[in-house]
Symmetry: C2
Subunit: 357 residues, 2 copies
């Protein structure tokens, strides 16, 4: 009996009818919440928090206590996999994630190995199990990973980048080496997501945060091809239930057709996409997740409600929409605006369905 009491999110991902449009928010457990900042203080560093299953569980549940969200997402970082490969993840204040040992030499690339997710990443699996127990069948739990391309960006650049000069130089001088990194990383991500599913994740999401910096042909070759390979290797049924997958390429709106044909159940959309046009393009082949501009949450409560209704109206009363932001929630978000958002999504999407009947 693994289906949660509120299975609206899972049903929407599988394009089944729901009474209302489910909503969750990328980075919903995060710094905009005072209770998160409290726990984080107790944990020490961000990475200490990720690596402590009971604190990771605590922060995962915090937004669910405040808001009527339809899914929980594992609290973790997208860079745990390269960390487990030995690159030494750390977070420097104001600079975001960095690696102590980025990939610089050919031999370092040749030496990359697929980590055992139940050993090197056992802390993540412990968190997944603990969160599932704590959720007690209320809402589904989403597991996730970074995409191979996005992980490779950090592994080669050593951190965030403005121009992705190192990895693009590699791409346009030694594509063979880049393919090797992506191949190993895709194997690692497949094993990692499958271990999360075994530990209790009821849906999985691949965050391709940096796919949008690639030229369109390069996107297909160096990002989408490897996500497709992961999707083909995922456990898709667990305890008799389908485990849906979501692919989100930020800046990938132009490639919607290709992403929709990748073997994913759902495609995440950023806010530059007209979700109504996207829905007309993909029909009911995949579900769509998104796509409110996170900056709308800096606006007045009226603007939040209006812009949320605009997204719902654009998608229409069809099955197959999971409401979300088009990117992670900002730490500057007033928490009360999130209440307005969640309430509006639920109320307006119910009303839309009633009008359509």
């Amino acid at each position: 009996m693994s289906r949660p009491k509120n299975d609206t999110f899972l049903r929407a991902l599988l394009r089944q009818p729901t009474d209302y449009t489910p909503v969750w928010l990328m980075r919903q457990a995060g710094r905009y919440l005072p209770e998160y900042r409290e726990t984080r203080k107790r944990a020490g560093s961000f990475l200490d928090l990720c690596k402590n299953p009971s604190l990771a569980c605590e922060v995962t549940l915090q937004p669910l206590a405040r808001y009527n969200l339809d899914a929980a997402i594992l609290f973790s970082d997208i860079l745990t996999v390269p960390d487990a490969m030995g690159l030494g993840l750390y977070f420097s204040e104001g600079e975001g994630p960095r690696f102590e040992r980025p990939l610089k030499e050919e031999w370092e690339i040749r030496n990359l190995a697929v980590p055992d997710p139940n050993l090197e990443l056992g802390y993540v699996m412990d968190a997944v199990s603990e969160i599932r127990r704590a959720l007690d069948g209320s809402v589904p739990l989403i597991g996730f990973s970074g995409s191979p391309w996005t992980l490779a960006c950090y592994m080669v650049e050593g951190g965030g980048s403005d121009d992705y000069r190192k990895i693009k130089t590699l791409l346009y001088t030694r594509p063979d080496l880049l393919h090797h990194i992506l191949d190993i990383t895709a194997q690692a991500v497949t094993a990692y997501l499958n271990a999360q599913i075994e530990a209790g994740a009821q849906a999985v999401m691949i965050f391709d945060s940096w796919g949008g910096v690639l030229a369109h042909d390069a996107y297909k070759t160096f990002s989408l091809a490897y996500m497709r390979r992961i999707l083909a290797g995922l456990i898709r049924e667990k305890d008799g239930e389908r485990v849906p997958a979501i692919v989100f390429t930020k800046g990938g709106g132009l490639w919607l057709e290709d992403i929709a044909a990748s073997g994913t159940d759902a495609v995440g959309l950023d806010w530059t996409v007209d979700i109504g046009a996207a829905r007309r393009q993909v029909g009911d082949r995949v579900a769509l997740q998104g796509n409110l501009d996170p900056s709308v949450l800096f606006g007045s409560p009226e603007a939040v409600a209006e812009e949320a209704r605009r997204v719902l109206d654009a998608f229409g009363p069809h099955p197959g929409h999971v409401f979300n932001l088009g990117h992670g929630i900002s730490l500057h978000t007033p928490p009360d605006n999130v209440s307005v958002l969640v309430q509006t999504v639920h109320a307006h999407s119910r009303a839309l369905r009633q009008q359509a009947e």
Copy 2:
């Protein structure tokens, strides 16, 4: 007699047949050239260089001395207009452009006034005249401005931004004030571009560098609508010759149809767009400019040639293509790769046309 000896660029913008595909590069006069760095050292600051017509002329011509480029572009900055409005443009090392007096209060916004381009921006007109004289009818000169939305981003944020929080907060709390900024700025840009045309610019380009951070509806309302207004107010014929306009929204590939219908002669495309698909979408309604990933120039000469051919092949042998990068050239570009690029574009596009005959 204002038509230059090499009018390939102007003909391509007007979708007239040309023997080969013309090429120029955004930011072609810039820090990747050692001779530019020399002149810059003599000038003092970047802004001193922009404000000195004879040095601005000198650097404008530098890439033309090295490469067989088909157009010159005025050396200037996109932020001269808000500087002329009194915001106090300066450049801090490593931080990019900043304003001393960004727009913070309603009264500051209400006080904005349209500068007289021949007074406050006379140094730009002097540079345009001097460059035209120096070009001596060899290749056409492109004038340019930032788009109202892009200028407003800097005017409100006070500089570059990761999340555009200030301007988006304004957008979602006080859209009336943002519209006021955009209205005044659009009037200013129209007058500024018309003054450049009067001074000798033979084509003009509007750089909407930050349009791509807007949600799709907001893009139409807060960026495209104001560019459309500028296009409607531009001088479109001078000395019996059409003065073509190019609109470039970075990250605007999803909005190609709307941009193509804005009244522009040509649309600039960044490298995420498949230029072949774009050409099929717009047909011969507008010319297309672009769209090589500037990072390709970090690659091997073979990769540069291959990727350039890929863009040309995708567009096909039709009239109406101006080859360019999908964004400004990086300061880390090896100058020799630019030679390879320009030569490849000319040779391969000639060969394509011969095959098509």
